[in-house]
């Protein structure tokens, strides 16, 4: 090798080292902060003479995260869950102090109800529910033979957990804080830029249907990620909290614009597939101004404010083009198709403008101008799924209590509590068995490490400084494992196992017999949680659950068809958004279920929105009696179709719709209503949509030709 070669290589190697070091800095910072919070909490807990300093120390590990906002959010909900759980513990002990079956029954029921409540909430709120459940068990089980001690136990538990929370919060927010806010701002800007680039590409060139659907999927995932960050960032930064309503609005408008773009593209595709090229070409020409308006280099640093006037011009241009283009069309059918599409283009342009407006408002520095926006978000929850979670958690605990009573195993209580905790914590994970098993491996490693640490190292140490020195290497390993994304589960298990079993206290107790009994019991507990998930599988991802999700999605059309009108559009949009995010969170990326659920979601969204608009227009004006009579059967038939999709329901809906359209044509001035019905009909006849499975085996294209 020549000398020049070496010279050329050296800087790159250095660059590599520097970059690697920069990445590693973050990891080591996390390790250092976790350890700092851990030992500071331990020291304070011992100074305050709390019963179990290890509980406080465990808390710092449970809430540890790289981002301060995450730590604060999790801490906040952990505090709520702990207090509620402690109150529940007092009530349960107060009710059945001497009746073990009723007592354990009530406890199981409480744990189950909390697990059920967790499924009805997202993010860290679910964690608060789970925690409220198992905190009760954690407080009650140790004092089962001495009920009078429950109050002291509850107070001790609350103090320990709160101490851990406060110290973690302070350490993570004060010492080299790493804020989600910057990440989120970047994400929101990128999300905006990506979408605008995509709109530009989609409105100027041709993009394949598959690509658009894929892009939509990505946008939905982006929106969900942003929503997750928003729910944590509000704890970290008061300025972000003041803007939280705007971020919600940003997301909702984003979803609305993205879905309208989908509808528009599907409509044009359908028209083209059915050989109706004249209206399709007219529509493509109609939305061209949007593409031109966005034909500037857009990246994450482009201000949304500069795009705003351009979009407004485009909107006005579209409005001016509509009557001209409409006049140039020859046949009635072309006009009908064009009207349907023009309505969508108009809506899309408005939504794009509103979205950009919100983006500009969010990007503006300084305080929030204008009043805070209030939007009510409705959840799309599955009440039966929640009851199933109640049943599973209660059963797990009841079965373990039964074993405990029958076997009279002294450490049984420990095993039971641990099993309850982890059965609850992992219930909402997409793949709980895998998660618990990784955790179990970590727990075994942690138990081994804590044995070595406690009996070979700590016995030679004296004082808190040396205790830190003795424990640090072991904890560091765990924190590092936790910091690497691929081994997070193992690392968490390791640290929890280590902290639980070493049970640091002042004065320290060295009791190998207790240690071995405890470690066996706790490992059995984690193992039984794994077994519980194998025998009573998690509902998430099961065929039953997916079928329920389909049903819930389809029921949205029924809501659109019959729910009271005031505020319906917001309720419909936000419930859809919530269902969307659940699908994204609970299905594996790129799986068949995820694809087919999203296809259904799009179909539901398209039909539902058209139905709502139809009903709004129907209510806005006084129509002759005949108009109502003409439309009602079509709405009912559509509701039936989405309620229970079958071939006969499909035929019925199609025929009812065609009937309504031909009846409405006899009335004057029903153009606005016809547009919506026409849109629904085109969606219904689309042989590439999810509804195609229910079409009678017959060539559909001729129907499209004749139907109008």
């Amino acid at each position: 090798m020549s000398v020049t070669d070496v010279n050329a290589v050296t800087p790159t190697t250095r660059d590599v080292v520097v970059t690697a070091l920069r990445d590693e800095t973050q990891t080591w910072l996390f390790v250092a902060k976790t350890l700092l919070a851990f030992f500071l909490t331990g020291w304070l807990a011992m100074r305050f003479a709390l019963d179990q300093p290890s509980t406080a120390m465990l808390t710092t590990i449970l809430v540890a995260n790289r981002q301060s906002g995450m730590v604060l959010a999790k801490s906040f909900y952990r505090a709520i869950g702990t207090v509620v759980g402690a109150l529940a513990a007092l009530v349960i002990v107060g009710l059945f102090p001497q009746e073990r079956v009723l007592f354990l029954g009530a406890l199981s029921l409480w744990v189950g109800l909390c697990a059920g409540g967790a499924t009805l909430n997202r993010n860290f709120k679910a964690y608060a529910f789970v925690l409220a459940g198992y905190t009760a068990a954690l407080i009650v089980i140790p004092v089962v033979n001495n009920p009078l001690a429950v109050f002291d136990g509850a107070v001790a538990r609350i103090s320990e957990v709160l101490l851990g929370i406060v110290v973690s919060g302070v350490v993570s927010d004060l010492v080299f804080p790493s804020h989600i806010r910057a990440i989120m701002r970047r994400a929101a800007r990128e999300q905006y830029a990506h979408f605008m680039q995509f709109v530009e590409r989609a409105t100027t060139g041709k993009t394949a249907r598959g690509d658009i659907e894929k892009a939509h999927l990505r946008f939905v995932r982006d929106a969900v990620t942003l929503e997750d960050m928003r729910s944590s960032v509000i704890f970290e930064d008061p300025e972000a909290r003041a803007r939280s309503g705007h971020i919600l609005l940003f997301n909702q408008r984003f979803m609305a614009a993205s879905t309208s773009l989908q509808s528009l593209h599907h409509l044009i595709n359908r028209l083209q597939r059915n050989g109706r090229n004249v209206p399709a070409a007219a529509l493509i020409q109609l939305y061209a101004p949007l593409g031109e308006a966005l034909d500037i280099p857009i990246d994450a640093d482009t201000s949304a404010k500069c795009i705003l006037p351009r979009l407004d011009d485009a909107r006005r241009a579209i409005g001016a083009h509509i009557p001209v283009m409409r006049a140039s069309l020859q046949t009635d059918q072309d006009v009908q198709d064009f009207d349907t599409g023009a309505d969508l283009v108009h809506r899309f342009a408005d939504e794009l403008y509103a979205f950009t407006d919100t983006a500009a408002l969010l990007q503006a520095p300084g305080g929030v101008t204008g009043s805070a926006v209030r939007i009510r978000f409705t959840r799309g929850n599955d009440i039966y799924g929640a009851w199933l979670a109640v049943l599973r958690a209660s059963m797990t605990m009841a079965v373990l209590s039964f074993f405990w009573i029958v076997l009279a195993w002294p450490s049984g209580a420990s095993a039971m509590v641990i099993a309850t905790v982890f059965a609850g914590l992992f219930a909402s994970a997409p793949n709980p068995i895998k998660a618990v098993n990784a955790f179990l491996i970590g727990y075994v490693l942690g138990a081994t490490a804590s044995f070595i640490c406690e009996f070979y190292i700590l016995t030679h140490m004296d004082g808190y400084g040396l205790l830190i020195a003795g424990c640090t290497p072991f904890l560091m390993m765990g924190a590092l494992l936790m910091a690497w994304p691929s081994t997070t589960g193992i690392g968490t298990g390791y640290l929890i196992g280590f902290t639980n079993l070493i049970a640091l206290k002042n004065p320290m107790v060295y009791d190998p017999v207790r240690f071995l009994n405890e470690s066996i019991a706790q490992l059995v507990g984690v193992g039984s949680a794994s077994v519980a998930f194998t025998f009573v599988p998690s509902t998430i991802g099961s065929p039953w659950f997916i079928r329920r999700q389909f049903e819930r999605l389809r029921r949205q059309v029924c809501v659109a068809a019959e729910a009271p009108l005031p505020g319906l559009i917001d309720r419909f949009e936000s419930t859809n958004h919530d269902l969307f995010s659940q699908i994204v969170a609970q299905t594996v990326r790129g799986s068949d279920e995820s694809r087919s659920l999203l296809a259904w979601a799009l179909s539901v969204h398209e039909t539902g929105r058209a139905l709502i608009q139809l009903r709004y227009d129907l209510a806005a004006k006084h129509w002759p009696e005949g108009v109502h009579r003409a439309i009602t059967p079509a709405i009912d038939a559509l509701k039936n179709l989405y309620d229970s999709p079958t071939t006969s329901a499909y035929t019925q809906a199609r025929d009812a719709l065609i009937g309504s359209i031909s009846q409405l044509n006899q009335f004057e001035g029903t153009q606005r209503l016809l547009v919506h019905l026409h849109l629904i009909r085109l969606a219904l006849l689309d042989d590439k949509s999810v509804l195609a499975d229910y079409m009678p085996r017959k060539k559909q294209s001729e129907e499209v030709g004749h139907a109008t």
């Binding site: 109050f151 927010d173 004060l174 804080p177 930064d237 008061p238 972000a240 305080g367």
Partner: protein, 65 residues
């Protein structure tokens, strides 16, 4: 001021009540500052907030006990 307050027969330190009140105060001040974006004039917002709660709680406690 009473050192301990009895709620349903449970003695609760009076300072705890005042601590909760200071937390609410902090939350309120925080909201106002956040609304007008004044944290941009502060070097370390988190440290500022911690100092603020220490000041509020400290002054209340010293004033009343």
């Amino acid at each position: 001021m009473p050192r301990e307050i009895a709620i349903a027969g449970v003695l609760i330190p009076g300072l705890l009540v005042w601590f909760l009140i200071s937390l609410f105060l902090l939350f309120f001040i925080d909201m106002v500052i956040g609304r007008f974006g004044l944290y941009r004039y502060v070097w370390h917002p988190a440290l500022f907030r911690l100092a603020l709660i220490a000041c509020i709680f400290g002054s209340i406690a010293l004033l009343l006990y």
